[in-house]
Amino acid sequence: MITPNGIKTACGLGLLGGVFSVACLALYFKPEDGSLAVIAFYMLVAVLFFATAGAFTKNGQWKWRVALFVNILTIGIIFACMIGEFFAMDAGAVLLVIAIFIFVLELLPSSKAWMQSEI
């Protein structure tokens, strides 16, 4: 089965989100009390993005529903971190947009069919 463009784009966005999250960790790091939580949340989001990107490869580790659930978790964590002021608003907004794009691409019928046929 030919890999749909939506899957390729979602994989690229997942990698971009992960890299951007780690970059934000470096850019917004301030050595003060409570910085550990900020570091941890940026790292968590980066890990989730990279894991999501991995799911959009041939013989990926997850079924479609699991990948979708992890993506929903990613969106929820980013949104929660923005509200809790752990993330800078501009960085959080960019990460949120990337996660929402992946979510939309994942919901495409062609993406669903491809991911379900792979396993």
Binding site: L73, I75, G76, A80, G84, F103
Partner: protein, 196 residues
């Protein structure tokens, strides 16, 4: 011969009515009682206000909304095929009963302990209902809908951990609005099991 027609779509609109009534009454109450500040005062303060705001809050935000939510919960339990949705509907009815009682026993009744207890019980059962609805959306094949309750829950956990009670309470009410809209849409799209 007349075939009985399921009314899940009609009943589902009670979810939207609940959201609209709650939102309008909350806005009206906050507009009348100008001393009430979002994030500084609790919602219960509106129910014990010296102005007419308490009428809007107790009758509108609590009692009418509770009745609409109870009807919506009943419809979910009756029409949904999955067990998780049926359980979610029952828990929502229980939460609605406590919401109704909150409007009846306001903060200024007695020492206010009864009001606090009822508010905690309502919050607990509402939280449980939202979790169960998320599972129900997932099981019904509406995976995208499950995103809303999951995001709302995660956001509220962070607000609960980082902000004060008044902020948490107000944001919980705000978070319930998109959740109810999605729950209504799910019930409208559900192919009903019952024919009443």
């Amino acid at each position: 011969m007349l075939a009985s027609k399921p009314h899940n779509v009609a009943f589902a609109w009670f979810g939207v009515i609940a959201v609209v009534v709650f939102s309008i009454c909350w806005i009206c109450a906050a507009a009348i009682d100008t001393t009430w500040v979002f994030g500084e005062n609790t919602l219960s303060d509106l129910g014990a206000s010296d102005s007419d705001a308490k009428m809007y809050f107790n009758y509108g935000c609590c009692m009418v909304t509770a009745i609409c939510l109870a009807i919506f919960g009943f419809a979910t339990t009756t029409y949904s095929k999955s067990r998780s949705a049926s359980a979610a509907g029952i828990i929502l009815i229980i939460a609605a009963v406590f919401l109704f009682l909150i409007g009846l026993f306001t903060k200024d009744v007695g020492t206010g302990d009864l009001h606090k207890t009822l508010a905690c019980l309502m919050g607990f059962f509402m939280f449980l209902a939202v979790c169960l609805y998320a599972g129900a959306f997932w099981n019904n094949g509406h995976e995208a809908f499950a995103a809303v309750p999951v995001i709302v829950i995660l956001a509220l956990i962070v607000i609960f951990a980082t902000q004060n009670l008044a902020t948490f309470e107000a944001w919980s009410a705000v978070g319930a609005i998109p959740f109810m809209v999605v729950a209504t849409t799910d019930l409208i799209l559900t192919k009903p099991k019952a024919k009443i």
